[in-house]
């Protein structure tokens, strides 16, 4: 080997090292390497935990797997959206729980938004009493733990309501007692399904019309009564269907027999307590978000819009709200997520939400890991759906720069 060759070789060696260092100095490469390390670490940790769980459970002879979902549940549920009896499976019971969670979360989100918006605006009122009362509302509801509020509501509803035999009857067929609210419901009739279909068609038609009207307005400046046409489509079509279907008015009336009312629809005190608690608690947070959103729009915007000759309502709708919503939507999304997850406190007051049903299931079958995994999957699905919807809405209302 000549001296010359060895010099070339060593230079080539330096070149490799230099190239490696160069590569390492590239931010993208370095970032990728760190990410691989982190992901690898997380995967290893998860594998270790999973292995540990499986090994320990085998050592103690605890059965595993999701086979228990097929077995008969054997426990009763008093508040179900789908038919359920103790002879149904754990899987069905879990589904009942998931639907109950969704029901209370969706209603809670709507009511908390309405109440929160009212309180938030009221806090900005120039009326001293209204403003003070709303600040008190916010401070009290935000600072008392939710579980405590739920206990209070459950206890108040149980003790303040009369027994079924002395139930209030504010409207014929509507009974309020400590067993909940009993409502008459229309008896089963094929027309109800058709009305549902008609409503869906109506919503679609209203949406198409509003898009068309907006295009027309952009092109010609002519305005169309979008609201009234929409209302006609969404409410009028089902009403027409009902008339055509023979206008059935038979009601399934609740009736006091023995211990309790039979027939009709029941809304339990536990459901009301949970709904009230979640709504009132979350509304306190939403009120503050709404207030901050409105305050974030400088008063100059309102003045400028007014100087263009816009009416007060239009100023709010076209100038202030679009800017305020940009501030309001993202934190409100997290409040919606909080409300949904907080609904698991139902366990404390005996509303049959998913966690309540799941706890009973895991207690009877010993499948704690599986049940918790199911909780996580369901909450993750619900939360991601809310996030997606809210992010989509956020993009719709974001300022579009031209």
């Amino acid at each position: 080997m000549s001296v010359n060759d060895s010099r070339v070789d060593s230079k080539a060696g330096f070149g490799d090292a230099d190239r490696l260092i160069d590569l390492w100095n590239k931010p993208q490469v370095r970032a990728l390497a760190y990410q691989i390390l982190v992901v690898g670490g997380v995967v290893l940790l998860l594998a270790y935990l999973a292995g540990n769980v499986i090994e320990n459970r085998e050592a103690r002879g605890i059965a595993g797997g999701f086979g228990f979902l097929e077995r008969e549940a054997g426990f009763a549920i008093n508040d179900t959206l789908i038919p359920y009896s103790p002879s149904d499976t754990y899987g069905t019971a879990f589904l009942v729980g998931v639907l109950n969670t969704l029901r209370v979360a969706l209603l809670g989100i709507v009511l908390a938004t309405v109440l929160g918006t009212i309180i938030g605006i009221a806090r900005l009122s120039s009326n001293f009493l209204v403003a003070t009362l709303s600040s008190w509302y916010v401070e009290v509801t935000r600072n008392v733990p939710l579980l405590l509020q739920l206990f209070i509501w459950a206890s108040v509803l149980r003790t303040s309501m009369p027994s079924p035999r002395q139930a209030f009857e504010p409207l014929p067929g509507v009974f309020i007692s400590n067993r909940g609210v009993k409502l008459p419901v229309p008896e089963a009739h094929p027309v109800w399904d058709w009305m549902l279909l008609a409503a869906a068609i109506g919503i679609l038609a209203a949406w198409i019309f509003s898009r068309w009207a907006k295009k027309q307005q952009d092109a010609t400046g002519k305005q169309y009564p979008t609201f009234w046409v929409g209302l006609g489509c969404i409410a009028g079509l089902p009403f027409l269907t009902w008339l055509v279907g023979g206008a059935p008015t038979q009601l399934d009336m609740p009736e006091l027999r023995g211990f309790n009312f039979r027939g009709g629809l029941t809304m339990t005190p536990e459901f009301f307590a949970l709904l009230l608690g979640l709504t009132i608690y979350t509304a306190g947070f939403i009120a503050e978000i709404v207030r901050s959103g409105i305050l974030a729009v400088s008063y100059g915007q309102t003045e400028a819009a007014a100087s263009l000759g816009l009416r007060r309502g239009l100023v709010l709708r076209l100038v202030v709200l679009p800017q305020a919503l940009r501030v309001i939507i993202p934190p409100t999304t997290s409040q919606y997520l909080n409300l949904t997850k907080n609904s698991s406190l139902a366990v404390g007051i005996g509303y049959f939400d998913m966690v309540n049903v799941g706890n009973t299931t895991m207690n009877q079958t010993g499948q704690a890991v599986e049940a918790i995994a199911m909780f996580m999957a369901v909450y993750l699905t619900i939360s991601l759906t809310i996030s997606l919807l809210m992010n989509w809405y956020n993009r719709q209302i974001a300022l579009v720069e031209r």
Partner: protein, 338 residues
């Protein structure tokens, strides 16, 4: 030389074997090392397990924890109590948060097997009953069609309830709340027509929670078998044995008429059964892996089964019934100590 090495290797393997056997007794080892017994008890059920104003637990179930602590650690107060709800109890035991669960827990096949638990012995033969307000005028559980029933979740009670109404072709509306205080509140505020749990629990609640106990009646029907007793985890047979035989020793003592008062008089008894129990004839303690005076200490400091029963449950108005000794027509029967 060669032979010695082989023997040494053999001894080492044997030692390893012994070592791994000791590993199997990990609950026992951990308890001895920690110096306290981890015991899961009720969050507060009068007579069975309830804390006083200073947070010190007492009751029928609690005394069995104290007895086990006395046998293993020679100190009845070396117990760390964890109050558990009906839903938390099995997970807490499986996860090792508690080592023995003495919390009116019913022995069932599923719990004994798939949950990875072992029931040691029955300390109380119970059955599920119903309590209703007296002014409801109900005299039999078969009149409860359509009633609203308060019950705790995750219990055999919840399942028996559904079975009973199904079997008798009746309907009911369950109100299922985890916290005992919350269920009590729901029943006494009139949210439910009926309260169901083990009849011993009903008696305890009627006597300790009801504003006026006479306003509530316990219906005559007993709709299930509820054998209650201490539970341990799978995986430590020595610990399992100690808990089991502590209970048997207390029952055996009652059968022999040995009480905390007179136990010293029995020390010079010539009855071989008594001698084996009290350790004057050694062997039983060694077999269990504890000191020979284990049963003597339990009887002297905590009492026999009947004394524990009289101390905690008789004041609640609970008759011995099924829990009388087998010699008195009951079901309490200790396996032979020999």
């Amino acid at each position: 030389m060669q032979l010695k090495q082989i023997l040494a290797a053999g001894a080492a393997i044997a030692a390893l074997g012994v070592g791994s056997a000791a590993m199997a007794g990990e609950t026992l080892d951990a308890t001895i090392e920690r110096g306290t017994l981890l015991c899961g008890v009720n969050t507060g059920l009068a007579g069975f397990g309830t804390p006083d104003s200073e947070g010190v637990y007492s009751g029928f179930d609690v005394d069995f924890c104290r007895a086990v602590a006395l046998v293993i650690l020679d100190d009845a107060d070396a117990v760390e109590y964890t109050p558990l709800t009906s839903q938390q109890r099995f997970t807490a035991l499986q996860a090792g948060e508690v080592d023995v669960l003495s919390r009116n827990t019913t022995w069932t096949l599923t719990r004994d097997t798939a949950l990875g638990l072992n029931f040691t012995a029955v300390t109380y033969y119970d059955g599920q009953g119903f309590m209703v307000p007296a002014d409801l005028g109900v005299t039999s559980a078969l009149e409860l069609d359509g009633a609203t029933v308060c019950v705790q979740p995750g219990t055999t009670t919840e399942l028996n309830l559904a079975d009973f109404f199904r079997a008798n072709d009746m309907t009911f509306e369950p109100v299922v709340i985890e916290g005992l205080d919350q269920v009590n509140d729901a029943y006494f505020s009139g949210r439910c027509d009926v309260y169901t749990t083990d009849s011993s629990g009903l008696a305890a609640i009627r006597n300790s929670v009801a504003p006026v106990p006479e306003d509530h009646v316990i219906l005559p029907e007993i709709i299930s078998k509820e054998p209650l007793g201490p539970v341990v985890r799978h995986g430590d047979d020595e610990f399992f044995d100690i808990v089991k035989w502590t209970v048997f020793a207390m029952v055996q003592a009652e059968e022999l008429g040995i009480t905390s008062e007179n136990v010293d008089e029995f020390m010079d008894s010539t009855n071989p059964v008594v001698q084996r129990l009290l350790g004057t004839t050694p062997g039983m303690g060694e077999a269990l892996g504890v000191r020979e005076s284990w049963a003597y200490d339990v009887i002297a400091q905590i009492g026999n089964y009947g004394e524990v029963y009289d101390r905690h449950l008789t004041p609640l108005g609970l008759q011995r019934g099924l829990n009388a000794l087998w010699t008195d027509g009951g079901l309490m029967y200790a396996m032979p100590l020999r």
